[in-house]
């Protein structure tokens, strides 16, 4: 009885699928965005690989790019000023960075209770450039600049995508269909999934920031540096994780080897000795 019911149920499911399989399909339409899309190029970061470490000089340069370029529109709300000590800044330097930050931190006037702002201190998170989403959209042609804290983990392609996007702005190709051309307030960037992005090209010219360590601030260099910085903001415990991982794997290899010999030792009297093959 069970088998008869099962057979009939199976038959019905299979028939539903066979009917679906046989129904003719609309011919696939080639997706314009897909056709013109460009994959971000490969970039090597010091933090890559099992033994990867942050290049602190590069993180500081990347922070400078964030501060002087990105921070005008993008928040970094999961990162605090105090975290900058991990980039090699000293405590007084961090204090100065917080104090001189262009955007002040929302606060309350202690005398009147009215909303107010104050200078940032190291324990503050990086303040958002906009009071709220409406203000952000109003200032950006109705586009919302996303928070950058987790950007390198929140996109397919990770830091390479960020670098690719920052360096990916092009003139729209001549054969681009009209409906895929950038509208008003949009910019052609084939690394971006739908080709047209609301963010104006942020890194436009060599020397847009001047690095204190003498590194040549090409557009590609600035894009790499800020991408490396955003790897750190997304995963500040990366070095600790990889260092711990190497120790854990070494320990487990040793422990597992010992466990293997213990297993072999315990089973020594039970392992069959196969008869010689005829």
């Amino acid at each position: 009885m069970v088998r008869i019911i099962a057979f009939l149920a199976g038959l019905v499911f299979v028939m539903a699928l066979v009917v679906a399989m046989l129904i003719p399909r609309q011919p696939a339409v080639e997706n314009t965005a897909h056709h013109f899309h460009v994959e971000p190029q490969e970039v090597a970061f010091a933090s890559d690989g099992a033994f990867g470490r942050f290049d602190r000089q590069q993180l500081q340069r990347g922070f400078q790019v964030y501060k002087e370029v990105c921070a005008a529109c993008h928040s970094l709300r999961h990162v605090a000023f105090r975290d900058l000590t991990e980039l090699g800044f000293t405590a007084p330097e961090v204090k100065a960075i917080a104090k001189n930050w262009a955007i002040e931190v929302p606060s309350v006037n202690p005398d009147t209770g009215e909303p107010a702002t104050r200078k940032a201190i190291p324990s503050d998170m990086f303040p958002s450039p906009y009071a709220n989403e409406v203000a952000a959209r109003a200032a950006n042609n109705n586009a919302l600049p996303p928070d950058l804290s987790l950007m390198t983990k929140a996109r397919e392609g990770h830091a390479e995508y960020v670098h690719g996007l920052l360096t990916g702005y092009r003139k729209a190709p001549a054969d681009l269909p009209a409906e895929a051309r950038p509208g008003p307030g949009l910019y052609y960037n084939p690394v971006y999934a739908n080709l047209n992005i609301a963010m104006p090209p942020p890194l436009v010219a060599e020397g847009q920031v001047s690095y204190a360590d003498g590194t040549k601030p090409t557009v590609d260099q600035m894009a790499q540096d800020v991408s490396a910085f955003l790897i750190w903001t997304a995963e500040p415990k990366l070095e600790n994780r990889k260092r711990t991982g190497v120790a854990v794997i070494l320990f487990l290899l040793l422990a597992t080897t010992l466990a293997y010999f213990a297993y072999q030792n315990i089973w020594a009297d039970k392992k069959a000795k196969p008869l010689p093959q005829a």
Binding site: L17, R25, P236, K237, V246, T256
Partner: protein
């Protein structure tokens, strides 16, 4: 335990004797996973995965309890509380990555465990109850994993909850009210997040309870083995401890190495980048995909694209998806072959491997976009899945002529398969060439 030659617990000291007379817990452990449980001596490494699944559950419970101390189940701050764990809680990154990857590894070992049961016929008499309880555990795991994935309240959390609770709206007439009742609202929100957290904390302990029943049921007939032949005497078994505790210790080490490679070196490889974007009910992700361990079932859901027999495609998909798991409950009665191990089932063996490939391809198709050729291929693979269990398996069991079984476990271990008894359930089978095992 049923084997008469099982070692008996004898308390050695006055203290253990005192305990044994009042609460014989050491005796229980001794009989369950100690020297008092005789196990077939010929188990291969596929028999490690039961213990590994238990270890994975333990790992999930420990890391989960600590994460719950820092997590806030509130739609406004859930996402930020997870980032707080990642950044400010001591070793919080380790706890969270271990928990997130632990779920994946729990499913990996459970899929291996289920696959072993399928290949070696561990679901057959007298072990049907073990199998049924196992399917219950699998269903509870899926519910727990789904609700856990919602908790970080990222984009995939939110839209996954939207899609999965949407299954219930496929039920005719009462579907939409049921969905709203489950969610506590018209869309996933604080009410849903809170109850998912509550249930996500509860269900692992329910799983642990059903595992106790699973092991209890296992100890009645004892473990199956790669030959599928019943234990005939003491020469066929070894005590669980120290023989299989030692082997499981080694297996656990290998498991932890693989697990650590993910936790420490590619912790987000099995996740989806969109879940690092906070939940936004106004912005639908380009592709909503579940976690990898649900992809084969998701592919089955998506493969029903036409209304058939006046039933809408969506309802077909939902019925098929739940049916694809529920049919495992009747598996012991669909497979009527008296031979357990597929080593001796020349025909079924090929269908088994076809099923494994089919499920792997379904998993790949689960994340593919809904366009050709993926849709037709997933329809073909889903059709094979149902045909395999509901149509092919009963027929194969009828027409197959199994290979001769070894006389006993010890015979197969000590003498290869040269000495053979008459095949169980099939007469007049041509002799197969002997080979050393």
């Amino acid at each position: 335990m049923s084997f008469p030659w099982a070692a008996h617990y004898a308390p050695k000291s006055v203290f253990t004797q005192w305990i044994d007379e009042r609460l014989p817990l050491p005796r229980l452990v001794y009989n369950a996973v100690g020297a008092g449980y005789p196990v077939p001596r010929n188990l291969n490494y596929f028999w490690n995965f039961g213990v590994l699944a238990g270890a994975a559950l333990g790992l999930q419970i420990i890391t989960g309890i600590i994460l719950a101390m820092h997590y806030a189940a509130n739609g406004a701050i859930a996402f930020d509380s997870v980032e707080h764990i990642m950044r400010d809680v001591n070793s919080g990154w380790l706890l969270r990555y271990a928990h997130a990857n632990g779920a994946s590894f729990f499913f990996i070992v459970v899929y291996m465990h289920i696959g072993r049961g399928l290949y070696y016929g561990s679901y057959k008499a007298p072990r049907e109850m073990i199998w049924l309880l196992g399917v219950v555990i699998f269903l509870l795991m899926m519910a727990t994993a789904f609700m856990g994935y919602v908790l970080p309240w990222g984009q995939m959390s939110f839209w996954g909850a939207q899609v999965i609770t949407g299954f219930f709206s496929a039920i005719p007439l009462v579907g939409e009210p049921i969905r709203e009742w489950l969610l506590g609202g018209y869309a996933p929100d604080n009410a849903a997040l809170n109850r998912f957290f509550s249930l996500h904390y509860l269900l692992p302990f329910v799983i642990a309870g059903v595992i106790i029943l699973h092991i209890w049921a296992l100890h009645i007939p004892g473990s199956n083995n790669p030959t599928g032949v019943d234990v005939k005497g003491p020469q066929d078994t070894v005590p669980f401890h120290p023989y299989y505790t030692a082997k499981d210790g080694f297996g656990l080490g290998v498991f932890l190495i693989a697990f650590s490679l993910f936790v420490f070196f590619m912790p987000n490889a099995l996740g989806h980048p969109d879940n690092y974007i906070p939940a936004n009910p106004l912005s639908t992700p380009a592709h909503i995909v579940p976690e990898w361990y649900f992809l084969p079932f998701y592919a089955i859901l998506k493969s029903f694209t036409v209304n058939f027999l006046w039933i809408p495609a969506k309802l077909w998909g939902v019925m098929a998806m739940f049916g694809s798991i529920l049919l495992l409950f009747v598996l012991p009665w669909l497979d009527t072959s008296p031979v357990r191990s597929s080593n001796y089932r020349p025909l079924y063996k090929w269908f088994f491997f076809a099923l494994i490939i089919d499920v792997l391809v379904l998993g790949w198709l689960g994340q593919a976009p809904a366009e050709e050729p993926y849709v037709r291929l997933s329809q073909f693979c889903a059709a094979y899945y149902f045909a395999h269990f509901l149509i092919i398996l009963p027929i194969v069991s009828k027409i197959e002529r199994p290979k001769p079984l070894p006389m006993s476990i010890s015979a197969s271990v000590l003498h290869g398969e040269a000495q053979e008894s008459a095949p169980f359930g099939a007469g007049g089978v041509a002799t197969v060439p002997a080979r050393a095992s």
